[in-house]
Amino acid sequence: MRKFWAWGALIFGMLYFILPLLGMTNFSLKMRRGVYSLDAYAVVLGDPRFQATFTYSILMALATIVFGVLLVVPTAYWVRLKLPGLRPYIEFVTLLPLVIPAIVIVFGYIRLYNTSSWLPLTGSITGTNILLMFGYATLALPYMYRSVDTGLRSIDIATLTEAAQSLGAGWTTILARIILPNVLVAVLSGAFLTFAIVIGEFTMAALLNRPAFGPYMQLLGANRAYEPAALAVMSFALTWGCLGLIQLVSRFQKGAQSAT
Amino acid sequence: MSFLTLTSLQKSFGPVQVVKDFNMSIEKGEFISFLGPSGCGKTTVLRMIAGFETPSGGAITIDGRSQQNLRPNQRNIGMVFQAYALFPNMNVAENVAFGLKVAGRPKAEIDARVKEMLGLIKLDHLADRYPYQMSGGQQQRVALARALAPKPQVLLLDEPLSALDAKIRVSLREEIRQIQQQLGITTVFVTHDQEEALSISDRIVVMNAGKADQIGKPADIYNRPATRFVANFVGTLNLIEAKVVDPAANRVSIGDQGVTLREPLGNAKAGDTVSLALRPEAGSTAPDARGDTALTGEVVSSNFLGSVIRTRMKVGDSIISFDMFNSPGLVPPTVGETVTLRFTAGDLLVIRD
């Protein structure tokens, strides 16, 4: 009896997730009347705006990841090593982007960094791109920081640091050659998650008027029928790919650890 | 008729038989310990008594009543778990009251009983504490009070002391024994610690690979182990290999030294090897030591352990260790010295395999 309900709950849950995926896949294949075809995908992939916005978002994602790693890894390391009393506060701050909605943060950006302010980032295209990248880094902060901090917890950074220092290594060498390789899996997990968040992000890009993939999808959704479904399938595959890669690298790490 | 009887009890998990034909009769008010290494089936027997595991064969009766079709909550048994298992969302008083509450007892009765139980474990002042605010020893006493509150017919203790510090372990086991005698409750105690079992039990069941190797009073188990396993597991007995010289006269040789045993050798033939057991405290090397039997050997090591000095000497192929009480005048043997250990022939036991 218990098993019956258990299977029932599981099957209901599975249906809830599979039907929309099925629905969008099905819809994306029906652009040509009467037969299944990949026409919608061909149209989307051939659209120069798709290519432009998608490239833009990928570049933004990569920039965000590089910036995020450079910001988070040294900080998390330093806080663990020298400022452990600061940890609860840092942890609290890194969770704030989950509390404050993205739309509020970007609203603040627009008012704080407009053309007449002391730091007129929105005044130029480059400035706005940098601002958007900072915004993405803020959104990804909770995931990136937690991932790296967990990674650092599993290695004895104090001993590693002392060992490196006794061999004459400087801070840059310690971070780049000792700490980073040891938390690489954690950094990669954070990076893939950042990628998944940035690639489809809508609110910040739309309100800062940048030609990113998220606003493009929304625009297409408002004007077309079948192409949005094709885009949804592709995004889902992309999310699945990023999260799948996280699983893969963490499994790889487990394998490496049990092998030692 | 015994109070708690286990008859031909068996349990298999898939192809693995963990309990094989286990028989045991426990009298009302008795304190029984199941002693054995992990995986010997002692916990499985306990869990079958509690009703958490269904026996693959055999029967369990309590006070003449078969437990076969009774679920755990119908058996009126109290149980204390290794990891305390206190309900984390309830304070001490609520934990102790739980059994009475689910039985639907009136509130006044519950309050009185909780008070009585907290008095019994001397934790009246902690009634409002939550489990996470207490030490392991305190938590386990609360668990004991919780198990006893509904007045169970049998109390089961599943390694209740294993998770505690050495000091608390000793004081709590004395407390458990004292409470058990005060209430006269039939108790089954599972442990892998022989000192624990020896110190608080009326009888001990030494379990090995799903069977009872020996059932007896602590002194019997210690002094007269029935099998090699029991001899090895209980205490620090010396196991000595001896060669049968003359079975009719009970003559054997250890190394090249002849010894006459009190015990019959059974159907052993001349030239057979037998195992003999000798307790380390049975003999002495002091010049005035008495005893009808002596073994001479070379000292391999001598360790000062505080109250005793433990010396190991080599006789033939066997190492024999013996303890001497420390006294200011005693000169410990030195390594390489030849000493003679004297004891009574009756202290040498023949061990069956």
Binding site: G8, I110 | G51, M79, V102
Partner: protein, 296 residues
């Protein structure tokens, strides 16, 4: 900066070391200050300012108009509905897998899948549900042509309260599964056995032991899911355009084109969002600390 190899005695060097320690956290502090704290403070302060910079409560008072209040009310209702349903369904699925005796191999794929699905939000999620429950969606068409059930005639519309709620559930349920599964794992076998041997029935065990232990995690996750739905902008805009007046959509339109006719009312609107999600998250953090204390 004094180098470590300088021969100065320790007492003289100590005052210089402390600030150096803190410098290591400076880049992070500056970043967070500039791109998280100050923008948010700008909104909070702006909510209490007139255009010329003096203090006022008029903006907050301005929120209490029928249209804005109803936007908050719909937002809160959708968030509560999707959080509550997400919790209940997610809990059922998680407990089915952890306690229901289902095969062990289901667990890994379910958690992986939940990780993906809880991150599959935003614009594409809206498209997926339009393609499924929209006017010509998979289920809509199937029900109409095969079973003769016309969802539209029954009053269902994907661009509505329930449409949005059902769509949000797609990321709410997996999030619940991800958070509650460890809590269910934390229910020790001994608690159930201790309750049983003390005479409790299965129902009594659930009512008196398991449920109270899970309650903080349950309520905490409820608060988190609430905040999660309340701040979601992209899904709502892509799904409904501007046809459903919820707070994030209203704020989006206000930032784009000052539809309220008062820039500072926008600050107040955003401030209200911070207050609501802030309260929800405070509840979450508080309850979570409580359940962790129990289970440690």
């Amino acid at each position: 900066m004094s180098s470590d190899s300088s021969a100065a005695p320790p007492p003289a060097r100590a005052p210089f070391r402390l600030p150096l320690h803190w410098l290591g956290a400076a880049p992070f502090a500056i970043f967070v200050l500039l791109f998280l704290i100050m923008p948010t403070m700008r909104i909070v302060v702006g909510a209490f300012q007139t255009p010329d910079g003096s203090f006022t409560l008029d903006n907050i008072r301005g929120l209490f108009t029928t249209s804005i209040l109803s936007a908050y009310w719909i937002s809160i209702k959708i968030s509560i509905a999707s959080a509550l349903l997400g919790c209940l369904i997610g809990f059922s699925v998680a407990s089915a897998v952890v306690l229901g005796g289902l095969p062990k191999w289901i667990r890994g794929p379910l958690l992986t899948f939940s990780g993906v699905a809880s991150n599959f939000a935003g614009v594409p999620l809206a498209f997926a549900f339009l393609a499924t429950l929209g006017p010509v969606g998979l289920i809509t068409v199937f029900l109409k042509s095969q079973l003769g059930i016309d969802l539209r005639a029954l009053g269902f519309n994907i661009l509505s309260f329930w449409g949005l709620t059902i769509t949000y559930l797609f990321f709410q349920i997996p999030l619940m599964i991800l958070i509650i599964t460890p809590a269910l794992d934390g229910l020790k076998r001994e608690w159930r056995e201790a309750a049983q041997i003390l005479g409790a029935t299965n129902a009594q065990y659930w009512r008196m032991v398991a449920f109270p232990i899970l309650l903080p995690s349950f309520l905490g996750t409820l608060a988190l899911l609430f905040a999660n739905a309340f701040g979601a902008v992209a899904t709502a805009i892509a799904l409904t355009g501007s046809s459903l007046s919820i707070v994030p959509i209203l704020l989006f339109a206000q930032i784009r084109g000052d539809v309220l006719g008062n820039p500072h009312l926008g600050y107040a609107l955003a401030f209200g969002m911070i207050v609501v999600t802030g309260i929800a998250n405070t509840i979450y953090i508080w309850l979570r600390a409580r359940s962790e204390r129990w289970l440690k």
